[in-house]
Symmetry: C2
Subunit: 123 residues, 2 copies
Amino acid sequence: MECDPIGTVHTPHETTSDAPRQGLRTDAEGTLELHEAYHEGLSGFDADRVVVVWWADRADRSVLTLDRDPSRGVFTSRSPARPNPVCLTECRVLDAAPAAGRLHLRGVDMVDGSPVVDLKATL
Amino acid sequence: MECDPIGTVHTPHETTSDAPRQGLRTDAEGTLELHEAYHEGLSGFDADRVVVVWWADRADRSVLTLDRDPSRGVFTSRSPARPNPVCLTECRVLDAAPAAGRLHLRGVDMVDGSPVVDLKATL
């Protein structure tokens, strides 16, 4: 099942160890830029929160248990290290420019430059 | 970015039109079966809720706007029709058999037989 990157997210976290643990709240701000072919998918976007689905391209895909507790499998956690490194981060939208395919976000925990797979309405 | 199916989810929804709209609550029950190579990833699983990340393999990947309102892009929604048909469903866990790689779930909105990409702890 092939995922195409729809864009990139720019954050202050330069490396995996700089990034906050998945699921922990952070106030870090970043910018999500969609590739031009996908701008239309953002038409009419006016939400104040969004779920960013992103790909942890620097994560270890070979692990099935947690480093910090090998009795627990990766599916009991939100660690980016897992067979399919698809990560979910719910962010606050500080500014949206749908025609430019750009969102300014608060609460980014991705490593800078991570590929974006999808954006979803929050429930 | 290649996603490997880690398992399959069995639900009462035989076709896309039978399945509830993404994000709407449903009481439907189903069974998630991990492929054997991934059973270890479920070790120690004892949560009562889980986020199922699944692949809508029968969805139209070519659309960028909503059928019901073409002024709105797919990224303002949770419709499975989108460039990367990665869907998120938070389910209640009725029974877990980690060693067998099996979860019995309530709240399934997937079409029967949909491939599973990931399982995540809820926040």
